[in-house]
Symmetry: C2
Subunit: 430 residues, 2 copies
């Protein structure tokens, strides 16, 4: 018998909102936001959505009105009392009161700033401009909205049983991955899949599946809301936007060369232990490590986010040894382009030589490859990056030239300043 009230409730929705909370974002955004709020609160920054998979014509798939509804809805969100209590009271990385009272007060009053949306050549041009601490909070929800609206556009064409089978297959697929991964002794793995998830509910399901299936090898999620709801650790430290914006703000090549270290000096002030994880690839890992100040070798670990991950890890190991550090005491977090085989391979290569951990993203929360007609639900590569700071363009090089971004002449200048030589190009899948 039909439950009429539930039936009416389910179908009366005008807008099925995607992001329901300001905490539905990656934890490192909050850590970085607090740092920015302290160190660079008045910097004007522009974030921009960039769909690197040009074959997916988002503006043709996704209705502009629907997109605006979702973005407008996000602008109505405020940190709720319970969310604030969680941030103020919870232990993050073993530390209480990770978030300072002045930051929390600011966060409680935060409304995300306006967005600017245009269509161009089948793609959306979505930009956010304003004070850095405010604008930066758009990145993850904007990506999640784009990803989920694209999923919905495809799901809309599918029948009820197709949907049942789709999710049954997706669940089976993920569960089989978990069954393989849990056989790896000593594995430590976190969910890093918020930004490219198939949908919120799917990420939430994935976290619950990991929690049940990974037998303690699942260490947490980058998603702050899911961490709160499922009572797991919130995971994350810092990202490229910090060196990108710090660098854009410099006034000379000499200042520029120091900017990535200035970021970490500010971070050093604020955090210790497992939060002292450097992300060395923004302007090339080799050069970054070669020129790094002594104190950085004391940091807890490194995150490898572009280029060949094994090469990056070997580079770090050599560097630690050269600086008199014991790599076995150091943490290497792999977070780029991971799936089961790559995780197993990297774990086999590095476990014991360093402490290893994995931030598993897209292939955890959006591996719908082969599950929909015309592979319409396969994940794709969309990012939302700081492209300008105080009117100056930002640059990212990374260890993969296919991930480089910024004006051509500035890229050339950054390559010169950071002494980046020839880089191996790798396909960017997701």
């Amino acid at each position: 018998m039909v439950d009429i009230a539930t039936r009416v409730y389910n179908h009366k929705w005008k807008v099925d909102t995607i992001v329901h909370s300001l905490l539905d974002t990656d934890f490192y955004k909050l850590l970085m936001c607090q740092s920015v709020y302290r160190n660079k609160p008045d910097t004007t920054v522009t974030f921009s959505l960039i769909n690197r998979t040009k074959s997916i014509r988002l503006a043709e798939l996704i209705d502009e009105g629907e997109l605006r509804e979702q973005l407008d809805h996000i602008r109505t969100l405020r940190l709720s009392r319970g969310e604030s209590t969680f941030l103020r009271g919870n232990t993050f990385y073993g530390k209480r009161q990770m978030f300072r009272p002045d930051f929390m007060e600011w966060f409680e009053g935060l409304q995300l700033p306006p967005y600017h949306l245009e269509k161009h050549d089948g793609q959306y041009e979505l930009t956010f401009e304003g004070k850095w601490p405010e604008v930066m909070m758009w990145e993850i929800p904007a990506l999640a909205v784009l990803m989920e609206l694209r999923s919905r556009a495809v799901l809309r064409t599918m029948g009820r049983f197709e949907l049942q089978v789709l999710y049954a297959r997706a669940m089976t697929k993920l569960w089989e991955k978990i069954e393989k991964l849990r056989q790896i002794d000593g594995l430590k793995l976190a969910d890093f899949g918020t930004r490219r998830r198939h949908s919120f509910l799917w990420q939430d399901w994935a976290v619950q599946a990991l929690l049940e299936g990974m037998e303690g090898k699942f260490i947490g999620t980058s998603n702050c809301l899911i961490a709160m709801r499922r009572e797991v650790e919130a995971i994350g430290t810092n990202a490229h936007e910090l060196p990108m914006v710090y660098s854009a703000l410099t006034n000379s090549d000499a200042e520029l060369a120091q900017a990535p270290y200035q970021v970490l000096a500010d971070w050093h002030e604020e955090h210790d232990g497992n939060l002292r994880i450097m992300l060395p690839d923004t302007y090339g890992t080799e050069g970054f490590l070669a020129r790094a100040p002594e104190w950085l070798a004391k940091w807890t670990g490194i995150r490898i986010d572009s280029g060949d991950p094994a090469t990056g890890a070997e580079t770090a190991i050599r560097w630690w040894r050269a600086r008199g550090e014991d790599p076995r005491e150091k943490l290497v977090i792999f977070s780029d382009g991971l799936d089961v085989d790559k995780i197993a391979e990297l774990h086999g290569q590095f476990a014991g030589r360093v402490k290893v951990s994995f931030g598993w993203g897209t292939m955890l929360t959006n591996d719908f490859r082969g599950l929909a007609p015309n592979d319409g639900l396969a994940p794709f590569s969309v990012v939302c990056k700081a492209i300008a700071a105080n009117g100056r363009p930002t640059v990212k090089l990374s260890d993969n030239p296919n991930k480089a971004m910024g004006p051509v002449d500035e890229i050339a200048r950054y390559k010169r300043v950071f002494q980046v030589g020839k880089q191996a190009a790798m396909d960017v899948v997701v």
Copy 2:
């Protein structure tokens, strides 16, 4: 745990369609349609929606786009193979092959004709013009759509728990009615509530509740689709549109005076037994019976659809006696403005004196009075009537002057021709 496939299915609906079948209509429409298809197939008729409850400003409550989507969807409907098999193979009123093969063939090809929709003074002007057999099939789905869109407009403002409580209360209310009604010995009652139902699902629930609760006193439903699905009798005979259109087509007062009897003469040709039920009130019951031909007194029964029902029934009883008929052998069907108390009262007054049956409508399928804020879900009085035939206006007088419709001069002429004297005005609630 959320069933993601079901969740996605529930919320991806662009249009939650209201009418899903050409059989989601009253059974008498099909009987009348077959009669019209045989006797007056080329008559051009205009049907028009009339909201008698002016305080309900439908065009402000209901979005025009949503209304058009629902009406457009109805135009995509065709009789399905299973539905055709049901109509061809089922027994209706104890008779097989009620629907002739030529009619069925026509019905299988039927697409409802275009509609014309305008807004005026907070109301919708919704008209249908075309061949009578096609246009007449719009009446019930058009009404059902208007009623349910109005329900939805109000339901949309309610929260999940409000909805649970709303339907819990509505179910309780209806069940209590059933508990009272089933205590009436010998009661025979049918669902006549399609046109003013709260929603399709609610009517379907009401029929199932009657089926379980009425202990054999529930004899069927006017809704052809629900009759098919729930395997109960489809109930209904004929309605005012037949004498209204027949009358409009006449060329003299003398022809006009005979038109209502011509309708029943055509019906007499086609049907016998329990389908020979006359509806005498179109131009006043008193005069209709007084001037009726002898053969009409032999008919099985009468349906009382306006005016004071007890008065109407007493008039019929006197008339049968005067014509030498035994009223105890005759069937009186009450179908106007019924609820539990009125049903009990009429049953008490007439059971034994005549065979009594009830066609329970709005207060069965839409008694949401007092259940929503500002009584926003209380039923209201909307009809969809034939207003013109071959370019001439139709007229209805009925036994309640508040239900009269047509141009003023034509009403006066009809009153003269049918010798209608003073009538008692009664409020039209639903």
